[in-house]
């Protein structure tokens, strides 16, 4: 009996030591990537992107002996969170998705992104200037776009007809009048995903652009002062709209892509309008039934007395950047991905707009053609505020417009709070 007790103790002691060594051994792991092994983090989790991205990788691998591109696709918000953690570690994947603007600028300033100006100089100018702009700072290029688009009003033609609105509103006054008419006809005028905040910020941003022009926004971004007249005016105009109670019941808790969210309400014909980007028709179809020929598009109306032209647009796209240690092969892939052939495939799927000259003939949908034409004729371009500005400012814009829409903040308070956040940077 005594012997067994002792051997048990010996065994346990040995087991204890073995247990100790496991974490130590694990700590020695880790892997590095070589020129041939490329890691690509992106947000292509839904169709048609999922298939298109995979196809592009396969074709590139077939044409380049020994190269493997490992894709890691994450949903939008998950991607942003994971990138936050990753940037803290100081090492980014070889190729990573970016929306450009303030976030990319911060990553560039932290020395995490490769300056690819010289590598892409021979072909980057073939891409549309609007598509390129979000990824270039001080004349240097840090990423290559694959998509570009803009925000505008998507509307249900049948509802407009029923409410006796002859033509899409061209001014803010006409727009408010249309909202009144829709309400009078018993139709919920606008779908809004209040829980997510970013769809709400489109209104404030576009109104500011219409009142003061893109120039006023860029001036504010430079001076960090958002208390100038266009921004306060934007809040007042937004308040005029909110006071009409144009949004669906319970909009403050609604999300954008869910079965009872903003896109589904539009797609199922429950509301007459939504202010959304070029991807809207796709999501409407995915979350709801889709409106087919009843769906129309009109640019954000002009504001009476505002100095911003109706041809100035607000939008953004998607691109891919290269990490500091990223290889030339990775840049080669970006060139391949941005080629006219690949661009045509993306555009033909109906979910992307062209970034190259020559791919526009692949646009089939008449609404998307309108969007593309508006974009192409644009006299000014402003990227989404929550991407263009540093994250702390962008989120404050979202938070504050959400408060304004919920009736918890005045236009003046919004402008002051955003300024405080910008100055605190």
């Amino acid at each position: 009996m005594g012997t067994s007790q002792l051997s048990r103790r010996t065994f346990l002691a040995a087991a204890g030591l073995a247990g100790l060594s496991v974490p130590l051994l694990n700590a020695c792991g880790g892997s590095g990537s070589s020129d041939k092994n490329i890691e690509w983090w992106n947000i292509a989790t839904t169709e048609p992107g999922k298939t298109l991205w995979r196809q592009a990788v396969q074709e590139f691998q077939a044409a380049h002996e020994g190269v493997t591109i490992k894709q890691n696709s994450m949903e939008n918000d998950a991607y942003k969170s994971k990138m936050t953690a990753q940037t803290a570690s100081g090492k980014l994947p070889d190729i990573f998705h970016t929306w450009g603007g303030g976030v990319l600028k911060q990553q560039v300033d932290a020395g995490l992104v490769r300056d690819i100006t010289d590598d892409v100089a021979s072909w980057i100018n073939d891409l549309s200037p609007i598509a390129r702009q979000a990824y270039q700072f001080d004349g240097k290029t840090y990423a290559v776009p694959y998509d570009i688009g803009m925000v505008g009003f998507w509307y249900n033609k049948a509802h407009f007809e029923k409410a006796k609105i002859e033509k899409p509103p061209a001014t803010w006054g006409e727009f408010l009048e249309a909202v009144r008419k829709l309400k009078a006809a018993g139709i919920t005028p606008i779908a809004l995903a209040g829980k997510e905040k970013w769809p709400g910020h489109y209104y404030w941003a576009y109104l500011a652009i219409r009142v003061g022009g893109v120039a006023a926004v860029q001036e504010a971004a430079k001076t960090n002062d958002f208390t100038a007249d266009p921004f306060v005016q934007a809040g007042r105009h937004l308040k005029e709209l909110v006071d009409l109670q144009p949004f669906q019941n319970g909009f403050l808790g609604a999300s954008y892509p869910s079965t009872n969210g903003q896109a589904a309400l539009m797609g199922n014909g429950k509301t007459a309008m939504e202010l959304m980007g070029q991807w809207a028709p796709n999501v409407q179809k995915e979350m709801g039934k889709g409106l087919g020929d009843d769906l129309g598009f009109f640019p954000f109306p002009a504001v009476e007395g505002g100095s911003g032209a109706v041809t100035e647009v607000f939008g953004g796209g998607g691109g891919n950047a290269i990490a500091r240690d990223g290889s030339d092969t990775a840049i080669e892939f970006l060139k391949f991905f941005a080629s006219v052939e690949n661009d045509r495939k993306r555009v033909a799927s109906g979910a992307y707009l062209p970034i190259t000259k020559g791919a526009e003939s692949a646009i089939k949908d008449p609404n998307l053609r309108t969007v593309w034409e508006t974009l192409n004729k644009a006299t000014g371009f402003q990227q989404y505020f929550d991407q263009a500005f540093p994250p702390a400012v962008g989120q404050e814009v979202n938070d504050q417009t959400a408060a304004l829409i919920a009736g918890k903040a005045t236009p003046e308070q919004v402008a002051q709070a955003v300024t405080r956040a910008a100055k605190g940077q």
Partner: protein
């Protein structure tokens, strides 16, 4: 490693060795025992240090910097983050909302769980089924619960609104998660649905450890059902109740997933908790220094609460478990 094998258990030694030798041998044995203890504790301690202590200390360190999460923090600002924190209306609101949720949990949710436990401790047909049914929500992940209830409380089309219509309260037009007036109470409903089963099971276990003869003796002495509950069951259930309050409070302080999925803290911060605010600043605004300050305050609140609660409330319950060593050695 070698362990010298003792031939027979102590006490059965045929010829007792001289006292000095015995002392040396005892000392060696004790040393070996310690070495074994350390050997066993080391892996756990190493993991604990790497995964708990180091992050806590790092958060403490970064909370003193203005830091965006890139590279190493270098913009030292002292206690500025904390000063800003206690002027921030959202954070002060977080403290208030945390307090409200804790109060509701302790005053409403736990008594409800206790009542259900007492009920299901009776001889009731199908009580095993009910026990399982009430405990089941606890097994679901917070995210699934969140998604489920965003559907149930969806305006107009959700189940909750249909039920309100059926019982004739549809005209009240309650928008649940979508109004800053009702969001916190709706959230509390979901929390209760999810967690009361867990506390109920705790209480059931406690109830079953109460000796039947004590209750019988009380009955023979003429105590009514309420008196038996109030003066026998409740005091004997004390340790369980104290632990359940403790878990409930700590849970409410750290509440995150459920809020994030259902409301993301909205509308306009009306359901935001400290953890949600921390996430917003850390992962959305890239103000990691400020977010660290929030996490440090959260840690201190939990820590101080746990310390005081264990010292003053749980003291009697922990006696024997923690204090036994002092008596023996």
């Amino acid at each position: 490693m070698t362990v010298s094998v003792r031939k027979s258990p102590p006490g059965s030694d045929a010829a007792a060795p001289p006292a000095r030798q015995r002392r040396v041998r005892a000392g060696r044995r004790r040393l070996r025992e310690r070495a074994t203890i350390v050997g066993f504790l080391l892996p756990a301690l190493a993991l604990f240090a790497a995964l708990v202590l180091v992050p806590i200390l790092f958060a403490l360190y970064t909370s003193l910097f203005r830091w965006g999460g890139f590279g190493w923090p270098d913009d030292f600002v002292g206690l500025e983050n904390f000063v800003k924190l206690f002027k921030d209306e959202v954070f002060l609101g977080d403290l208030w909302r945390g307090f409200v949720l804790i109060a509701l949990s302790v005053v409403v949710q736990l008594p409800f769980a206790l009542a259900m436990a007492v009920l299901l401790n009776q001889n009731l047909r199908g009580r095993a089924f009910y026990r399982l049914l009430f405990f089941a929500p606890y097994v679901l992940s917070e995210v699934i619960t969140g998604v489920l209830f965003t559907m149930i409380f969806a305006p107009d089309s959700g189940l909750a609104d249909h039920i309100m219509d059926l019982i004739g309260l549809g005209d009240l037009g309650i928008t649940w998660f979508a109004s800053s007036d009702t969001v916190l109470i709706t959230l509390f409903l979901v929390m209760t649905w999810k967690y009361f089963g867990f506390h109920m099971i705790l209480y059931l276990a406690g109830l079953q450890s109460i000796p039947k003869d004590v209750l019988e003796a009380a009955a023979i002495d003429g105590a009514g059902p309420w008196q038996r509950f109030r003066h026998v069951t409740l005091p004997l259930l004390g340790p369980t109740i104290r632990i359940s309050v403790f878990l409930s409070v700590i849970g409410a302080i750290q509440l995150f997933d459920l809020v994030w999925v259902t409301t993301a803290g909205g509308p306009v911060h009306a359901s935001e908790t400290m953890a949600v605010t921390m996430f917003q600043f850390g992962f959305k605004r890239y103000q990691v220094g400020y977010a660290s300050a929030i996490s440090v305050v959260m840690f201190l609140i939990s820590f101080v609460f746990a310390l005081f609660y264990q010292r003053y409330v749980l003291r009697r319950d922990l006696e024997g478990a923690v204090t036994s060593m002092r008596g023996r050695r």
